[in-house]
């Protein structure tokens, strides 16, 4: 998995509450059995006129289409960011577009974990802090970059610094780019011991033949 240590970039505000993953990428834009190439479809219905994903068809009002927010790599969002569908395509669309961190007061639970699994840093800051940040960057977003340091769990902008909370294990996964499956596979022995006991306790829950790994 891609590591996240520090990042400094242009931040774009989409301060709506309850931004759902259908808005981040509509179902019709998930066209391949692939995690790649989804950036063009990011926010399709908001970013393009009538939702038609095509160069030249961009809606000028949408923040990511405005020259002031060119090359945005950080999103600022409202509460319950990424609610709705579990589609990991939403995170793949964000990362493919170039977004490296999303800052919101709260996140949809599945979306939050999907971010962590893909090296996209989800940052929780309260709504008033986010409003303060937006007020600061608003004048000149290109010049007023946001600097994120995951190890220190800080967000800095124009001399102001804010601290955010993240579970230590998620922080470690992101900092080191670890693969959680690899980590768990090292625990196969204790998993198999659990299963062997459970088969005696709840035989009815176990379908088919013996299932211990070879």
């Amino acid at each position: 998995m891609k590591k996240f240590t520090t990042h400094s970039g242009v931040a774009a505000p989409i301060l709506r509450i309850n931004i759902d993953t259908d808005a981040i990428i509509p179902s019709r834009e998930m066209k391949r059995v692939s995690r790649k190439g989804l950036g063009a479809s990011l926010f399709a219905d908001w970013r393009y006129e009538n939702g038609v994903v095509q160069q030249g068809n961009e809606s000028p009002d949408f923040v990511l289409n405005q020259p002031a927010y060119l090359n945005a790599s950080i999103l600022l969002a409202g509460q319950n960011m990424g609610c709705g569908s579990s589609r990991e395509f939403a995170v793949w669309a964000l990362t493919d577009f170039g977004i490296q961190a999303v800052i919101a007061p709260s996140f949809g639970a599945i979306f939050y974990l999907n971010c962590v699994r893909n090296g996209l840093l989800p940052i929780i800051l309260d709504a008033s802090t986010i409003n303060d940040i937006v007020a600061v960057i608003d004048q000149d977003p290109q010049a007023t970059k946001i600097a994120i340091d995951l190890k220190q769990s800080t967000v800095a902008v124009s001399g102001q610094q804010y601290t955010f909370k993240i579970e230590a294990s998620y922080q470690k996964l992101l900092l080191e780019g670890l693969d959680p499956i690899d980590l768990t596979l090292r625990r196969t022995q204790s998993i198999d011991q659990f299963i062997a006991k459970d088969r005696l306790k709840r035989p009815w829950a176990h379908l088919g033949g013996p299932a211990l790994s070879q």
Binding site: N80, I181, F194, L207
Partner: protein, 474 residues
């Protein structure tokens, strides 16, 4: 001195029995009894597994269906109107065979919407953990399973290891007391709850639905209830399994048989929250206050009673809420202060993992019998599974739907969200039994109003959002 162990909630009992290990960070490694896949996100989990040279640890516990991309028009094949959709179907089929997991392919009599199939085949069971790369996996809480939606990567983790690590969610109990008014359903209960408590009200919680009104609900209705726990942002929803659930599961294809059935039933009977269990939050709802409920905006929390008026953003307590209401009204094309009832519609949809089971179709058919859908209204019914479809046809429900002017489809997720590559036309206003009224959910620029099957059927006949209790009285 003897220290009494503190009581556990229903959720905590299942959690405890599935804890393989406590992790250093305070999360738990949880044993996953069942993994369910579909071709949209399951294909990514399977291909990810394959690309990393890993395999499914226990194929006996993994099931897959085709619902998200598959066409729902009669006579369907692998072709679909979803751009690139055929690849999802064919990759899923190939990898399911390669991994040796059970696949309910598109012409399999057991095919259907994942969460409908998992219950009706007895794949999800009370006291079992289940994950699926789909947010509505919480539906299975309706039979007492600890079921939750995850992303494709976490699904891959469960396939490879039979486990997933979770931080234990906080515990919430929602007590539904009082008698539901006639014709008011689980769908109305959930829309009412989410409207009162907000779409983020359950965030960080596992929610147990309890109380006499829940005990009165049939098992299919409990699935509808738990289905929308994710719309409440909960980790999952769950209802304690009771005799109704035991009767429901008896003789289901993948449910335990013989001696194992007896063992299972004995265990299931222990699955209820202890009297001294402690909840981090409790909400009481009096069902006598719940009317048929319908959404007016673009979040499930934008719901009101059918006899209520569309809210005014100027009256919102919080300016952020006011902004959200204004934006929603702007998208949905409605004015504040007007009654929601009587709003003209262009389409009606009955289907989805929320409301497509036999009991839902019976309720709708009851209202449609002998009547016709209003002129110009596109009306579609998509049974939740191929089995639901066959049973409905045996009862003649298909004839009622078709005679009233509804299309009668093969099973799948269909127009709930542009599945099968079909959407309603831009600008269409749809009354729908589905779970999400997000912008563009049912096609670009479409406007969705969530409601129960009874409300959808009555509205289809009248051509406008209609209170089925007073239908024809005007």
């Amino acid at each position: 001195m003897i220290h009494q162990k503190p009581g556990l909630t229903l959720f905590e009992k299942i959690w405890k029995d599935h804890t393989v290990a406590e992790n250093d960070d305070g999360s738990s490694l949880i044993y996953i009894d069942r993994v369910f896949l579909h071709e949209r996100t399951g294909s990514l989990a399977l291909s990810g597994l394959s690309a990393s040279d890993r395999t499914t640890k226990n194929p006996n516990h993994v099931f897959c269906t085709m619902d998200h991309i598959v066409d729902t028009t009669p006579g369907r094949g692998d072709d679909t109107q979803v751009p690139g959709g055929i690849e999802f179907i064919q990759v899923t089929r190939k990898l399911a065979h390669q991994e040796g997991i059970t696949l309910f392919d598109l012409n399999n009599p057991r095919q259907g919407i994942s969460h409908v199939v998992a219950a009706e085949q007895g794949i999800a069971l009370p006291g079992c953990t289940m994950i699926c790369p789909d947010s509505h996996t919480c539906t299975l809480g309706g039979i007492g399973a600890l079921a939750t939606g995850v992303g494709s990567s976490d699904c891959e983790h469960a396939l490879a290891t039979e486990t997933l690590s979770f931080f234990k969610p906080r515990q919430m109990r929602i007590n539904f007391s009082g008698q539901l008014p006639l014709g008011v359903t689980a769908k109305d209960m959930m829309l009412h709850l989410i409207a009162n408590e907000s779409a983020a009200g359950g965030s960080g919680f596992a929610v147990e639905f309890a109380g006499p009104a829940i005990a009165d609900l049939e098992v299919e209705a409990r699935q509808t209830l738990c289905n929308m726990a994710v719309e409440f942002s909960a980790f999952t929803g769950i209802v304690a399994p009771d005799e109704k659930v035991i009767t429901y599961l008896k003789d289901k294809p993948y449910a335990p048989k013989g001696q194992e059935w007896d063992q299972a039933v004995n265990y299931w009977k222990t699955l209820k929250s202890d009297v001294d269990a402690s909840f981090d939050a409790e909400i009481d709802i009096d069902c006598t206050d719940i009317a048929p409920t319908v959404t007016w905006g673009t979040s499930p929390q934008h719901a009101i009673s059918i006899d209520d008026k569309i809210p005014d953003p100027k009256q919102a307590d919080d300016p952020a809420d006011g902004d959200a209401i204004s934006r929603a009204l702007d998208y949905i094309g409605l004015s504040p202060g007007r009654p929601i009832s009587g709003t003209p519609i262009q389409a009606a949809f009955i289907g989805s993992c929320t409301n497509s089971r036999l009991s839902d179709l019976r309720i709708a058919a009851d209202i449609l019998k002998g009547k016709s859908v209003a002129p110009g209204i596109r009306a579609i019914c998509v049974p939740g599974s191929s089995q639901v479809k066959r049973k409905a046809e045996k009862e003649g429900l298909d004839v009622i739907f078709k005679q009233s002017g509804f299309e009668w489809r093969e099973s799948g997720c269909s127009l709930c969200f542009y599945a099968g590559g079909e959407g309603f036309s831009p600008g269409d206003r749809i009354i729908t039994t589905t779970n999400r009224n997000f912008e563009g959910r049912q096609g670009p620029m479409t406007r969705s109003h969530l409601a129960s099957p009874a409300t959808v059927a009555a509205s289809a006949i009248e051509g406008c959002i209609t209170d089925f209790r007073t239908q024809g009285a005007r």
